[in-house]
């Protein structure tokens, strides 16, 4: 009985803290988004036009799906560097399986299942053998990427499978909004429910916040960490498998083994920009979602301003470090 009381008390304290942080970071991110939009609209008038804005929403939705998964893992107190490789694997797997004659929904399901498996293995390696997450997922990143390029070569694999409703529901757009954006919103709501209204979410916050306390309160910390890894890799696999659907924008559907290279850094940066504490235990789905769109509009703005892909990568890296600094300095003030 008393344990139950304590549990409730701890939960309510956590809830109050959560609300405060959510408010602060959402405002910060919305302001960043507004500044980016105003700045780049002045710089290039096409920025809010019908050509660019859907692109921003599309790239933002894809990055957002990855960043939300990464956020779950970071909240639980770990990190996952292998998502970009999972993304590439899922894209190639979905293409190749469909070409072999599987219907697309089944190939996508197999790709997502593959993602779940990788996430489970990641979690198992980290918790069973006590290898730091950073090292084992770095190893996993290279194991997956090496196998992928080794097996499928470096060339394009064009999609030869059949049409399906699912495939059409991923590509194209409704008005200004790409259809993938609605998928993203659905996923964000689902994760929001999972993190704030389901028991698992509370467990994940508790595990990342203070693992010993969480364990003392009866939380199965191992299971919550593994669950967050599985969700993270499954989302990365979904984004990868959806790639051939969303790409019909450009009329050719392809998969390629070098796809998603470096995407993990963007996902981590978007997650930290959205206020997820890299020490674990704090984070907001809404803020990270907004941050993903701030990120994609920043990138698109740079492209419009004439920067090449390399300089955009450099800017992403600078942003990652700047967001970390802001988080550190912000926390120093609040204490």
């Amino acid at each position: 009985m008393s344990i139950n009381n304590q549990n409730n008390q701890a939960t309510s304290i956590v809830a109050v803290q959560k609300k405060k942080i959510i408010l602060r970071h959402e405002y910060t991110v919305i302001m960043a988004l507004a500044i980016i939009f105003v700045f780049f609209s002045i710089l290039s008038p096409n920025f809010l036009g019908p050509l660019i804005l859907p692109g921003i929403l599309l790239i933002g939705a894809e990055l957002g799906i990855l960043a939300l998964g990464e956020t779950m893992v970071i909240i639980s107190g770990e990190i996952d560097l292998s998502i970009a490789s999972v993304y590439g694997w899922a894209a190639v797997l979905a293409t190749v399986l469909s070409n072999l004659g599987f219907p697309y929904p089944l190939s996508l399901a197999i790709a997502v299942g593959f993602g779940c498996l990788i996430g489970y293995i990641n979690g198992l390696i980290i918790l069973k053998f006590k290898i730091p997450a950073m090292i084992s997922t770095l190893g996993m990143m290279w194991i997956l990427r090496g196998n992928l390029i080794g097996l499928f070569g470096g060339s394009f694999i064009s999609y030869k499978g059949g049409e399906s409703i699912l495939l059409r529901s991923l590509g194209g757009r409704v008005g200004y909004f790409p259809k993938l954006f609605f998928w993203f919103v659905g996923i964000a709501f689902l994760l929001n429910y999972l993190l704030y209204h389901a028991r698992l979410g509370n467990w994940i916050f508790a595990t990342g916040g203070n693992r010993e306390t969480a364990r003392a309160l009866g939380v199965n910390t191992n299971r919550s960490k593994i669950a967050s890894f599985v969700v993270c890799s499954a989302l990365a696999a979904f984004a990868g498998g959806a790639y051939i659907g969303r790409i019909d924008w450009f009329l050719t559907r392809i998969g390629m083994s070098s796809m998603g290279y470096g995407l993990e850094v963007e996902a981590i940066a978007a997650s930290i920009m959205g206020g997820t504490a890299f020490t674990g235990g704090k984070g907001s789905i809404l803020a990270v979602s907004l941050a993903a769109f701030a990120f994609s509009s920043f990138k698109s703005g740079l492209i419009l301003a004439g920067a090449t892909g390399y300089w955009i990568d450099a800017a992403v890296a600078v942003l990652l470090i700047v967001f970390c600094l802001m988080q550190r300095i912000g926390r120093g003030n609040s204490q």
Partner: protein
């Protein structure tokens, strides 16, 4: 205070060192015999020469990474610093600075990059792998942006300095001699000097080290700077050897360097490690790479193998640590 700390940890630690080093030497011999047997092109003086050269380049990077891991931090940006220092040396020599000074400017760049890593990681207490992940992308992307992603060739004259860095003494490449000298130097620093003791203490238990009067901030900072400086040295000597710059060279080398350190017996949580083990393991990895290539397996699988070896070695190290040192 350093003397009080040393005798407590050394007998246990010594056993682990011996163990991992023996295992690595045995593996080195085993793979050497295996590859000589299964692939016909492997056992030749030119291949062994290649292994010695690329093994030394990896080894020099791995020495710094080992120091840094022992001090309890990590650096993922070494491969990018390696390739960016290529660029610094190249661009300086194109501006007419003599190659010797360009070489030192390349190393100076490395020291600066290490300072940035350490400054952000230590001053602002951001986890070092996040900071160095950022710099890994940053240096590589800036380099690709500056060169448009295309290879550039060094077109200056080849002075005597080139032979000094990248030449040969009979059968042995000069880089190998450089590497041996550095390896012995850092082994002595780590095991015989007060500073080495500080590094071990900082990585082993930072609170205790601080309580005993070790300046942990400065110790870690020097490790960050040494690590990047060694990577830049290796990169500069790579440019002098190959006389061309390719922005995608050394991709994934940070994984190799960490793997060399961990397979050589360095514990990822810090405090325990062996320079000798790392040094031998660098050659082990490069021997496997050359062996795989001459056998005809796609090079991409080498990265897969390094990843798997890294995980296995971490598990073995963790088990050994738990057995010998009760935490």
């Amino acid at each position: 205070m350093a003397d009080q700390n040393q005798p407590k940890s050394s007998p246990h630690a010594l056993r682990i060192y011996l163990r991992s080093e023996t295992v690595v030497i045995l593996l080195l011999l085993l793979f050497f015999i295996l590859f000589s047997y299964i692939s016909s092109g492997f056992f030749s003086s030119s291949m062994i020469n290649v292994i010695l050269i690329i093994g030394s380049e990896l080894g020099i990077i791995a020495l710094g990474v080992t120091l840094l891991i022992i001090s309890g931090e990590i650096d993922l940006s070494v491969a990018s610093v390696f390739v960016f220092s290529n660029y610094v040396v190249l661009i300086c020599s194109q501006f007419g600075i003599p190659i010797v000074f360009s070489f030192f400017l390349g190393i100076a760049f490395g020291i600066g990059a290490g300072f940035l890593n350490g400054f952000f990681a230590l001053r602002f207490k951001i986890p070092s792998f996040v900071v160095t992940l950022g710099f890994m992308i940053f240096w590589r992307a800036v380099l690709a942006g500056l060169t448009n992603g295309e290879p550039t060739y060094y077109e200056g004259a080849r002075s005597r300095f080139f032979d000094f860095i990248g030449g040969q003494v009979g059968f042995i490449p000069n880089q190998f001699i450089w590497f041996c000298a550095l390896s012995i130097l850092f082994s002595l620093i780590l095991n015989r000097t007060k500073f080495g003791n500080w590094i071990m203490a900082t990585g082993g238990n930072i609170q205790t080290a601080r309580a005993l009067g070790v300046n942990t901030y400065r110790t870690k900072m020097i490790c960050f700077m040494t690590c990047s400086a060694l990577a830049a040295f290796s990169g500069a000597s790579f440019l002098v050897r190959s006389t061309y710059l390719d922005p995608i060279v050394a991709t994934g080398m940070e994984l190799e360097a960490i793997a060399a350190a961990v397979i050589g017996g360095t514990i990822l949580t810090g405090g325990v490690g062996s320079i000798i083990g790392t040094s031998i393991c660098a050659f082990l990895l490069k021997e496997v790479q050359v062996g795989i290539a001459t056998y005809g397996i796609r090079v991409e699988y080498y990265n897969v193998l390094v990843g798997i070896l890294l995980m296995i070695a971490t598990v073995i190290n963790n088990t050994l640590i738990r057995k010998f040192i009760k935490i």
